[in-house]
Symmetry: C2
Subunit: 538 residues, 2 copies
């Protein structure tokens, strides 16, 4: 204990937070660079306590519904120990018996240790750090995970390598329930290890949904039990560029341990070229004039066999992926092949669609949504489906991906006015790189700044960072994703009023990026400067 | 031997090269994707020979001036063996005695094994691959290194992992003598390992100059023997963020073994903020009105102590770095601090410079060039020095970094008309990233397409890819640099007529990128697709 003056910051005394931060950075230790994303309420002090890896204990509170044997928390304690004490070699030989013990006591209200996180899971937690003890309380184990991450970011080392944590009180919860990252494993195959490491880094920024855009035109790497030809003929390589059932289980299990949902996307009727290689008669044959051109278009929406196939495939998918939601795509359907095909035109006529192919797409999507509804899954679809077809089941989530702020704000208004739940991705297409500090734009997004009532605003369930794969694979994914995605993570977790200044966020963001590097994540630099521990290795 | 029909391609039958390439890619093995950068003359055949790692021998030709014990070639043989046979585990247990031996016989005209590559070193080589033997002949060991790289790119594996090489005849030499890459270790510190790996990857693209922009405003990581305060006070960290004498020797020695020159840059009088921390009275004190502002500007050009310091520092630098050239910078000098300083203004008056500060910069640079000339070093300076001061020593090399094609072409004309040697960097500032296939622009540069005589064109000694460090460190350097820099490498090595189509280069470039990935270089993808062996590891 080295001092006892308090400064309260957070919700009420916001300016002091940054003031304190700068003083600490300029005057050397004690260093409290803060937490990313910023907690909702944060009270800290310059009073600091030494921590020793030899005398640090994770503990379950006596009142905790979860106790030793809880897979989620036992696993988290194992993972966070080396993150708290990165220099500790763990041989125990140098144990100093004089070290005073420090207990991190975790108490949760519910024993949801063996469940999966879901869309209504509470991630709320309270963390109180005082001498010799920190108390972490949460309703769920998922909230406890978020609190462990926060605690890990509070621990720091001085120039001699000693560990400290300052007196702190935090009450925290996410602003939005859905905070996702999309990875695209069709345009390039991502090794499972790369996905697992991305899940780790997601947890460091408190992301909670991995949107797995698993298949698309270029390749079909998902190895289906029911339709093995889809990957054996549609993957880049049938053995080395696929996700086996075991790979998928590994990803879902790893994600669960970090409190991350895995949302699979099987996008149709467009974006399905690779599906056609392993499933004949699935895609629409295109015509050139009156004869077949030899090429294929979107899924053929006029054949009963299409819906039989989809029902079987989605039955499998609904069993493999435990999440209550499933992403059905529905974007960017090119109508030229459909309109070239005389059978499709005849079907249009019979159905009374005239020449409006948006009606045909709506018909197709309605069938697919019905299939997945019957499997007890809630559908998420790209905005195109709403644009073409306003009468879709009310529980469907609409995913906005198009356009500039003016156009996505108008779309937010329209969709929420129609009573639909909405997910915002448009401003966070971070596969689009440019020179300089583009994270500032991602940070400055105001997801609820659109014309609408309070009720409408409540329908925005969250946001998603998309890393489409045209130019991304395991060689460059990590530095493109981090820390740029983390700018959106703070926007989706933290209070907007407390995080309105991108300039004030900058030093805390730089510090967070160095923490990622220290954890072995190749997070790229934000600007000129250095980290105490630079990335090592080739 | 599986076939014996010949197709000659290269200088005379260029279109066939691409025809052949595509046939091979579509019809499966034998696969000959070609070499990057494209050799000047290349005759190949579909006749292929199996290679076995257990029966492959590097040998010195009996007429070779270099023999066993030659550090450059002995080292290259060691390095290339695992690059030729990436799956070979090397335990020798599975040796198949039936494997027929294959000898790669290297003959060089000169024993320059213990020297450094220099600006006039020949890199010419001839490579002839036939049954059981390949002959590699070169004037120098540096040429032999280039030939070894080419040979390594000719070896491929079939789907069963067996190794093959096709009958091939190559006569090759570089179009430009200077093919450089600039790394900036001041805006971010790059660990020595990162620099060494970059040297490896440079050799794979036949780059031959590492331009080490070692110090600048943000930090001074070079640990000087004579002025240790420069790094102890001017580096980001005096112990962890510096290059010791031993580090520098390691970089130079590693570069030499790849036939790469190390060109150090100590940029002045601007870009020197970090120098001022460890050397008082070196920088110009700025004034606000009639009093000192407390800030400092460029190096103070009016004090004799400045030139004494520079003479001592450059004497050390000239001993540490063996290359005949030294880069003196001279770019982007801000005149506002000089003009604020009454002593500088008085000096200007005394010297008859009036208020033309370009004359003061020219005066300063003239003094620095004289210092390094006396140390037997040829100076390279950024174009600003020429723009301000046309009378500079004729052997100085001018380095063009500014502007769009129209402006750098005009500068090329002006400089070569004045009889000066020129190095072109402007079109290859690849730290400027953008979305999509920007390598196409780098590939399409025509360095000699400017108004001027044949004599003028000969004064363009080469080009340089610059990776400035504002947004780059060890986390993201490799995927930003590779394979984008390799587009410039082909432009600087190969015949422009044979490499005029970026579309035709595309599949060969994709294949080369996969070769880099196979060698453990995190080279990013060019577009949608896959490599047989994806990047593994975190």
């Amino acid at each position: 204990m080295e001092a006892a003056s308090f400064v309260t910051f957070g919700q009420y005394l916001r300016p002091n937070f940054y003031f304190l931060l700068l003083i600490f950075l300029q005057n050397g230790p004690p260093i409290v660079e803060g937490v990313w994303p910023l907690p909702q309420t944060f009270t800290s002090s310059i009073e600091r306590y030494p921590l020793s890896p030899e005398a640090f204990y994770f503990e379950y509170g006596s009142q905790s519904a979860a106790q030793q044997g809880c897979s989620v928390l036992d696993g988290a304690f194992m993972r966070y120990f080396p993150l708290l004490f990165p220099d500790y070699t763990g041989n125990g030989v140098l144990r100093l018996y004089g070290d005073k013990p420090f207990h991190l006591v975790v108490t949760v209200d519910r024993d949801d240790c063996e469940s999966y996180p879901h869309e209504d899971s509470s991630e709320r937690y309270n963390l109180s750090v005082s001498a010799r003890q920190a108390s972490l309380n949460a309703e769920t184990v998922w909230g406890a995970l978020r609190g462990l991450e926060t605690f890990s970011q509070l621990v720091y080392q001085d120039d001699f390598g000693s560990y400290f944590v300052n007196k702190t009180d935090i009450a925290d919860f996410p602003r939005f329930q859905f905070r996702g990252i999309l990875l695209d494993t069709s345009r390039h195959y991502l090794p499972v290890q790369t996905i697992l490491q991305t899940l780790d880094a997601m947890a460091y920024s408190k992301f909670n949904v991995f949107h797995w855009h698993i298949v698309d035109d270029p390749s079909f790497p998902y190895q289906s039990r029911t339709y093995p030809d889809l990957s054996s003929k549609g993957a880049f390589h049938p053995m080395t560029h696929i996700y086996t059932q075991s790979d998928v289980r590994r990803v879902i299990s790893h994600a669960r341990l970090w409190g991350i949902r895995v949302l699979p996307e099987f996008d149709s009727p467009g974006h399905t070229k690779s599906w056609g290689k392993g499933q004949s008669d699935l895609l629409t044959p295109c015509y050139k004039g009156s004869s077949l051109s030899g090429t294929f278009g979107p899924v053929n929406p006029i054949l009963p066999s299409t819906y039989q196939f989809m029902a079987t495939l989605f039955k499998e998918v609904s069993l493999v992926f435990p999440d209550s939601h499933i992403h059905l795509g529905g974007d960017e359907v090119n109508f030229s092949c459909w309109s070239s095909n005389p059978d499709v035109r005849a079907f249009m006529k019979k159905m009374g669609f005239g020449v409006d192919f948006t009606k045909l797409e709506a018909f197709y999507m309605e069938n697919i949504v019905n299939i997945t509804s019957a499997l007890n899954k809630t559908a998420i679809v790209w905005q195109d489906v709403f644009d073409y077809h306003e009468r879709i089941p009310k529980d469907t989530v609409l995913h906005i991906w198009k356009g500039n702020p003016a156009s996505y704000k108008a779309e937010l208004s329209r969709m929420t006015k129609a009573g639909m739940k909405v997910l915002l991705a448009a401003p966070w297409y971070i596969n689009h790189i440019s020179y300089g500090q583009d994270w500032r734009e991602y940070y400055n997004v105001q997801p609820l700044d659109f014309p609408g009532t309070e009720e409408q605003k409540k329908l925005v369930i969250g946001g998603e960072v998309c890393m489409w794969g045209e130019y991304v694979d395991a060689t460059n994914l990590t530095p493109r994703l981090w820390p740029r995605a983390s700018a959106a993570a703070e926007r989706l977790w933290s209070d907007e009023k407390q995080t309105s200044s991108v300039d004030k966020a900058f030093p805390r963001f730089q510090d967070f990026r160095c923490k990622l590097v220290r954890r072995g994540i190749r997070a790229e630099p934000l600007y000129v400067g250095h980290c105490k521990h630079e990335y090592q290795g080739r």
